[in-house]
Amino acid sequence: MGEQLVETNGLSKTYGTVTAVDRVSLSVWRGEVYGFLGPNGAGKTTTLRMLAGLVRPTAGSASVHGDQPGSPRALARTGVLIEAPRFYPYLSGRDNLRVVARYAGVPDQQVEGVLETVDLAARGKDRYTGYSLGMKQRLGVAAALLKDPELLILDEPTNGLDPAGMRDMRALIRDLGERGHTVLLSSHLLGEVQQLCDRVGVISRGRLLAESTVDDLLGQAGLLVRAEPMQKAHEVLEHLVGDGNVAAADGTFRLRTEPSKAGRVSRALADAGVTLTELRPLERTLEEVFLEMTGTERTGQ
């Protein structure tokens, strides 16, 4: 798959008796957009803080670019935006980036470039406190981009944004991914992760429940069929898609087959004299998968 930019092994963090992150082992590969998915309080931010060197693990290990998180070599190649943008309120957006540039050891000239990238050049001289939430978020991304990092760690980058701001931020992240940046993106917005990410890790209550591609996580697609009489319909469908690929439940049949076979299913049932009352693609959303995994659907949360 290429080079691993981020790797954790049994990474854990406890605060007193509370285990925030529990033996998380994940890997992020060069060039991918990795979604770190979990409900609020699942341990996403703590994990990312450990990867940025801000929080020390209680147990386990992590490496970023093959180095210890928080080491100058790792930080030099990593742009970080965790939770919310953090800037000096008395400085302008441009001066805030100049401060970050000095810390990062990059020339001031790059400040203008990243302001252009996030469409803030025209407001660069305005004081940070006058920025809208969306502008602050974009300035945070600009700061993360200053070093032209290979890896971007973005924690809930669309938090608090209006729909247009969220769309712009998603477009920016997609663009970064297409330009070869590796992005580790945490979010509790399932649609966002489904749209943007190549692979996802699902975390709940501090534990990594799954890590795979979005397609693998969603599983194979299928068809939902409602037809009468049921017995005859069952026979026809089993004959068409195979014995093990038809599941009856609640007066419907769930077929494990390509949704593109809907026409053949319709014709076969009609030829057998079965009345078809419903036929639609059965595609699980990431939300359904996520709720199944985290178990919160049972409590109705």
């Binding site: 803080r49 940025a52 060197g53 801000l54 929080v55 020390r56 928080g70 080491s71 100058p72 930080l75 030099a76 990593t78 970080v80 965790i82 919310a84 953090r86 800037f87 000096y88 309120p89 008395y90 400085l91 001066d95 100049r98 401060v99 970050v100 000095r102 810390y103 990062a104 050891g105 700061a143 070093k147």
Partner: protein
């Protein structure tokens, strides 16, 4: 560390609070070092409140010859308190705004970020001391010219010693403020506690040790403010030719011991701050 130092200097230079604190230090130094004494001297023949004071001695304190003690007079107490506020603001607000996270996720190590901040605060403290001496030198020169007195400035060595002592005192208080900012990860509590200590506790302990409970003197002689006051005293014993000593200027320990104690305080504050920054999680 140089990268962090540059970043810190930019932040301090652009921060209005830095200039306000400098302005207050300069303003108070002028008020208590020159404006009030000169006004007192100028009106001494009509002002019964100055009866008993030698008007010439009052004027002497405003002339170039007394530049060092007059400039340093406010450092142990009010300028020290302002330096403490500068230190607390520079470190505590990083936690309040969450910008410590921004600084620590760039390139430098934690200790490099910390070192840059310490160096920038040291440079700012020195700049405040030099600005105080420079403004005072100008004002003293003007007053000497107006009063037809000699422009008899201290020697370069005396000036260097005065500026160095002022820097040590301001750096010590600034370091304490910075340490409190790191320790409490905020501004309000460090500033409150620090100012109460500088303006209240030190004076009370000194007063008690000087009169009611003299057995407390060894403890008093370890206090930072007492050592700062002793260092200023050592440069102009008895208040110099003016015969007036500023609040907090005290003959408690020798100049050498005061210098050593203050240096140890600076080192201790630096070391404690480094431990806090290096070891604690940033959340």
């Amino acid at each position: 560390m140089i990268a962090s130092f540059k970043a810190e200097l930019l932040k301090l230079r652009k921060r209005p609070a830095t200039w306000i604190l400098l302005g207050v230090v300069l303003g108070l130094t002028q008020l208590f070092g020159y404006i009030l004494p000169y006004s007192s001297w100028a009106t001494s023949d009509q002002n019964f409140q100055t009866q008993g004071l030698d008007p010439q001695a009052v004027l002497a304190g405003t002339l170039p010859g007394e530049l060092v003690p007059t400039s340093l007079g406010g450092f142990p107490v009010f300028a020290g308190a302002l330096a403490l506020i500068l230190g607390a603001l520079a470190t505590g607000s990083e936690y309040g705004w969450g910008t410590m996270q921004t600084a620590l996720t760039q390139r430098p190590t934690r200790l490099a970020v910390y070192g840059g901040k310490a160096a920038a605060l040291a440079a700012s403290s020195l700049a405040i001391v030099i600005a105080t001496f420079a403004l005072n030198a100008v004002v003293a020169g003007v007053l000497a010219t107006v009063e037809s007195r000699a422009l008899d400035y201290p020697s370069a060595a005396e000036l260097a010693r005065g500026i160095g002592s002022g820097w040590l005192i301001m750096g010590m208080w600034c370091g304490l403020g910075a340490l409190l900012g790191f320790a409490f990860r905020g501004v309000a509590l460090p500033v409150g506690l620090g100012v109460v200590w500088v303006l209240g506790v030190e004076g009370l302990v000194s007063a008690v040790a000087g009169s009611l409970l003299t057995s407390l003197q060894p403890l008093r002689d370890l206090l930072p403010g007492v050592n700062a006051g002793s260092l200023v005293w050592s440069l102009a014993p008895g208040g110099g030719s003016s015969g007036e000593t500023a609040p907090g200027v005290i003959d408690a320990v020798t100049g050498g011991r005061a210098t050593l104690t203050l240096t140890l305080y600076v080192a201790a504050f630096l070391a404690a701050g480094a431990v806090l920054v290096r070891r604690r999680d940033v959340t």
